[in-house]
């Protein structure tokens, strides 16, 4: 048996004591890796197979994923991947997600990377583990591997002998690095992947089983609330908390600089105390916010770092027809339905935090920095919260809980943000401006394309330094917010999907990255793609109109990718899109297409809506979608995510913008930030999944946001003749555009 390599490693306890699973990053291996081809998915960052898969003596299989369940159904899809390649029933798999002491570090569950990075890793790791099991069985049974078959947790020989997985493994069999290639099954033989499988987490959530961090209730837990300042940068100048400290149930008032919180026995007591504290606290106002009415001018005038992300041919050609348009998008809210929550305990120099953060490892690093602790002394465990749709307040509430836990060692501290906290303090999706200009030749083909986009960063996630944690900026010794950095292409931040997928011989795209952030911003589902696809797909319609072409045909004219062709054609066909269709008065139809990031899932959408002339109110009708996610692991999961993306995007597009005054954010609850309710939801949404067996997984969670927005704008233009380019497309704006 090989000796264990002599470096830091973390041990994981298993039940039954059959198998010790460990993972370690070996410097030797890391060095080797430089000369070795890339490993599939996130195996590349965490190459040891036993970091991903463990099998105990009873044959129970545990899969470790660094990605987290956000409600997107990833747990189920990953179980399907593992079960398929390992050849067991999905019920035999336990999936552990996102835990800094148990799972690989896969960064953030974001950017629709889960299937591409984690799914791929697990698929391949599982296949390789199956290969190892067959190898071991071959040795054990003294038969060539070709006469063996893995099935239902057992390796079976042609001569009828068999041996169960649990019996095969001893010691370090899985403690070896993955290979660049794997004995993946032929998709023709799939029995789990691509086959219907209900989500493993739904029944528990619908029958009251504990499922969320909000449901955790360890003994001795205290309920805590934070008193946030009245606005960004305000300073706590005066506080006499004596009266609050003697309120019923109050255990402690915690103050560190301008960070102010209270912990109590009961939840309503904590809320009472928070309100009393709020009335007693005196603040010095921070810097005033800019005027909302002129925010786009303000943003355009801020210094920017400009980069040309596409420069093709000789941009600047004039054709038979040239068009220009400018599009605007306001700050928008994640608005998680359950405000953020975290549980933390500080015991024996160790901090444990249960959090719905999208990135437990980066959060761990930031917390360690904030509390001046070694990283190994901070343990972050992902437990679900409500849907986050990007960087919401999950990390901030974890920081709050950590600070209060440190002030009350030995007590589990639960911090629940209030609705007003979440609406007022979460990092918003940034306001954006885009300018498009294009020229068509006499045949109606695009010959020139120029696109500029202005945006703040789309990521202020906590990583190493603590300054991106909200509370850290308000401590007596505050951490400064680190300078924001753009996310480079091909992913992009504000420039995500800024490069058009359409074939244009001369094209230039410039991304204007604006570091200064008047409002707090970070990643909101689809990042810049929501606005860029809204802009580009609206513009394509305007161009099609100028060319006298049907919007669907105009797009096909400029798409070279056959998979793009397929989704466009399918959506149009299933919708029943006829060129020159005549709809009743006030009705319109719209089409849009995008490939998320130009490298993830393809999504095309056709929809019909009605505009009420007297009020400008929009009534969404039938929506038909075609999506290509590569190999579809869970079709219903894909449909669910796409339906959700479309409804969410429709709400953003028709209603949503953060409002603010000089003194602070004014949209603090659902009355001041309305979102779509049932009566306004679309009449129907049909999603057609184009399955591509054997193809790479393509991230799908964010593919619907942009196309939905553009299709709505296009349909409104079709219904009314009015082209709106400033989001949200409210009834008031539509009415103003269509006149009396």
């Amino acid at each position: 048996m090989n000796a264990m390599p002599p470096l830091t490693r973390r041990l994981l306890l298993t039940t039954g004591g059959a198998l010790v699973v460990s993972f370690a990053l070996l410097p030797k291996l890391a060095a080797l890796a430089q000369n070795v081809p890339k490993l599939p998915g996130d195996l590349d960052k965490t190459p040891m197979l036993d970091s991903w898969i463990a099998i105990d003596a009873q044959g129970r299989i545990t899969v470790f994923a660094g990605k987290a369940e956000l409600g997107q159904g990833i747990k189920t899809a990953l179980i399907q991947c593992a079960a398929e390649e390992i050849e067991v029933d999905p019920a035999g798999i336990t999936l552990i997600t996102a835990d800094t002491e148990r799972t690989p570090n896969e960064g953030y569950t974001a950017g629709s990377h889960s299937m591409q990075d984690c799914g791929t890793a697990i698929l391949n790791a599982a296949a390789q583990v199956r290969g190892i099991l067959i190898e071991l069985a071959a040795t054990r049974l003294n038969l060539p591997a070709e006469q063996l078959k893995a099935t239902q947790g057992t390796v079976v020989a042609n001569d009828g002998r068999s041996v169960r997985y649990g019996e095969l493994l001893t010691g370090q069999d899985l403690h070896r690095p993955a290979h660049p290639t794997s004995p993946l099954k032929d998709p023709k033989n799939f029995v789990v992947i691509g086959k219907p499988m209900q989500r493993v987490d739904i029944p528990g959530k619908l029958t009251g089983k504990p499922a969320y961090v909000q449901d955790m209730r360890p003994n001795g837990m205290l309920q805590a609330r934070v008193v946030r300042p009245p606005s960004y940068g305000a300073r706590l100048t005066q506080l006499d908390a004596g009266a609050v400290e003697s309120m019923p149930g109050v255990v402690k008032v915690v103050r560190d600089g301008s960070f102010l919180a209270v912990a109590a026995q009961g939840e309503f007591q904590a809320i009472d105390a928070m309100e009393a504290l709020s009335a007693l606290a005196k603040w010095e106002q921070g810097p005033v916010l800019p005027e909302q009415a002129t925010i786009y001018d303000t943003i355009r005038q801020l210094p920017s770092n400009d980069s040309t992300i596409l420069d093709k041919g000789t941009p600047g050609q004039q054709g038979a027809h040239t068009m220009r348009a400018t599009y605007h998008r306001p700050y928008q809210l994640h608005g998680s339905i359950g405000p953020s929550c975290a549980l933390a305990i500080f015991e024996a120099d160790k901090l444990t935090v249960w959090t719905h953060s999208q990135g437990v490892y980066p959060l761990r690093n930031a917390l360690a920095d904030m509390l001046h602790m070694p990283q190994q002394q901070v343990h972050c465990i992902h437990v679900e919260g409500s849907g986050c749709y990007g960087h919401n307040a999950a990390d901030d509430v974890a920081a709050d809980a950590a600070l209060i836990a440190r002030a009350l060692p030995g007590r589990p501290i639960r911090v629940q943000w209030m609705r007003e906290d979440e609406h007022g303090w979460e990092p918003f999706g940034p306001a954006m401006i885009s300018q498009a200009a294009a020229s068509l030749d006499a045949d109606g083909k695009l010959i020139d394309w120029q696109y500029d986009v202005w945006s703040n960063t789309h990521s202020t996630r906590p990583e190493g330094p603590a300054g991106n944690l909200l509370a850290a900026r308000y401590l007596a010794q505050p951490f400064a917010q680190p300078a924001p950095k753009p996310i480079p292409q091909p992913e992009g931040g504000g420039d995500r999907n800024a490069i058009p997928i359409y074939t244009v011989p001369n094209a230039r795209v410039i991304s204007h990255f604006i570091p200064q952030m008047p409002l707090r911003v970070s990643a909101l589902r689809a990042l810049g793609a929501y606005h860029n696809v809204f802009s580009i797909e609206s513009f394509m319609d305007e161009l099609a109109h100028a060319a006298g072409a049907d919007p669907v045909e105009f797009r096909l004219r400029h798409l070279d990718d056959s998979r793009a062709h397929d989704v466009v054609t399918m959506a149009a066909k299933e919708f029943g899109w006829q060129p020159d269709a005549k709809l009743p008065r006030g009705h319109g139809r719209g089409f849009a297409f995008a490939r998320y990031k130009n490298l993830a899932a393809y999504c095309a959408l056709a929809l019909e809506l009605e505009v009420e002339h007297e009020t400008g109110a929009v009534k969404l009708g039938r929506i038909v979608v075609a999506v290509d996610s590569g190999q579809a692991v869970n079709h219903d999961g894909i449909r669910n995510q796409i339906e959700g993306a479309i409804v969410q995007s429709a709400s953003w597009t028709l209603y949503e913008e953060v409002t603010f005054g000089r003194d602070g954010i004014t949209s603090r609850d659902w009355s001041s930030f309305p979102m779509m309710r049932f009566p306004a939801a679309p009449e129907s949404i049909e999603v057609h999944v184009i399955d591509r067996p054997g193809e790479k997984f393509l991230g799908t969670g964010e593919a619907g946001q942009g196309p939905a927005a553009a299709a709505i704008a296009n349909a409104i233009a079709d219904a009314t003749g009015a082209r709106l380019r400033e989001l949200p497309l409210t009834a008031a704006r539509i009415k103003a555009a269509i006149g009396i």
Binding site: L70, G71, Q72, G73, Q198, R199, D201, I202, P203, G204, K205, L206, T207, G208, K209, P210, A211, Y212, Q214, D215, R217, Q223, P248, G266, E267, F268, Q269, I271, G335, S336, I337, G338, P339, G385, S386, G387, Y389, M418, R419, D636, N640, Q641, E643, G644, A645, I646, V647, Q648, S651, D669, W670, S671, M675, M676, R677, F678, P679, A681, S684, I685
Partner: protein, 163 residues
């Protein structure tokens, strides 16, 4: 001391009677389904049934609930034997993050107890007080329709059996 009847069981609750029902359900009674979404009666994540009416438990103090019949999702069924509304939601896979769904199910239950075969417009209006941020509205509507059919069929079966 306030005595509350929750899902058919009596509980003696010794907290401030001003405490909203939601906190008592979650903290004293350790029931997970009803959720905190806003505390302002705007989102419906806390919806439960009181005397067959869907109510916002976040703004209902327990002092008004003595002698009244409180039902939560836990009273509709469990994982082994889900009730018709729960089964319908599971069959339609009507959840993404799932946080709003218990509130949705209680409002749907309340609706179907008043109106056994609501039209689509009636379902939408009845469900309007409840928000879903993930965009699961289409599935939720399908689940309510499915539950209505199932409950009508059950009622028909009971009538048949009773004959």
């Amino acid at each position: 001391m306030t005595v509350l009847n929750v899902n058919g069981q009596q509980h003696r609750i010794d907290v401030d009677p001003r405490t909203p029902l939601l906190y008592v359900l979650r903290n004293e009674l350790k029931l997970n389904a009803a959720k905190f979404g806003c505390g302002l009666g705007q989102c419906g994540a806390c919806t439960v049934l009181v005397d067959h009416e869907p109510v916002f438990s976040c703004i209902l103090p327990i002092s008004v609930l003595e002698g009244r019949y409180i039902r939560t999702v836990e009273g509709l069924g469990n994982e082994g034997r889900p009730g018709p509304v729960q089964s319908a939601f599971i069959e339609e896979q009507a959840a993404q993050c799932g946080y709003c769904i218990p509130g949705m199910m209680m409002r749907a239950q309340g609706l179907l107890e008043h109106n056994a075969s609501p039209s689509d417009a009636q379902i939408r209006d009845a469900m309007a007080p409840n928000l879903c941020r993930c965009g699961t509205q289409m599935r939720i509507l399908r689940a309510v329709r499915r539950a209505a059919k199932a409950m009508m069929a059950d009622a028909g079966t009971i009538q048949e059996t009773a004959k």
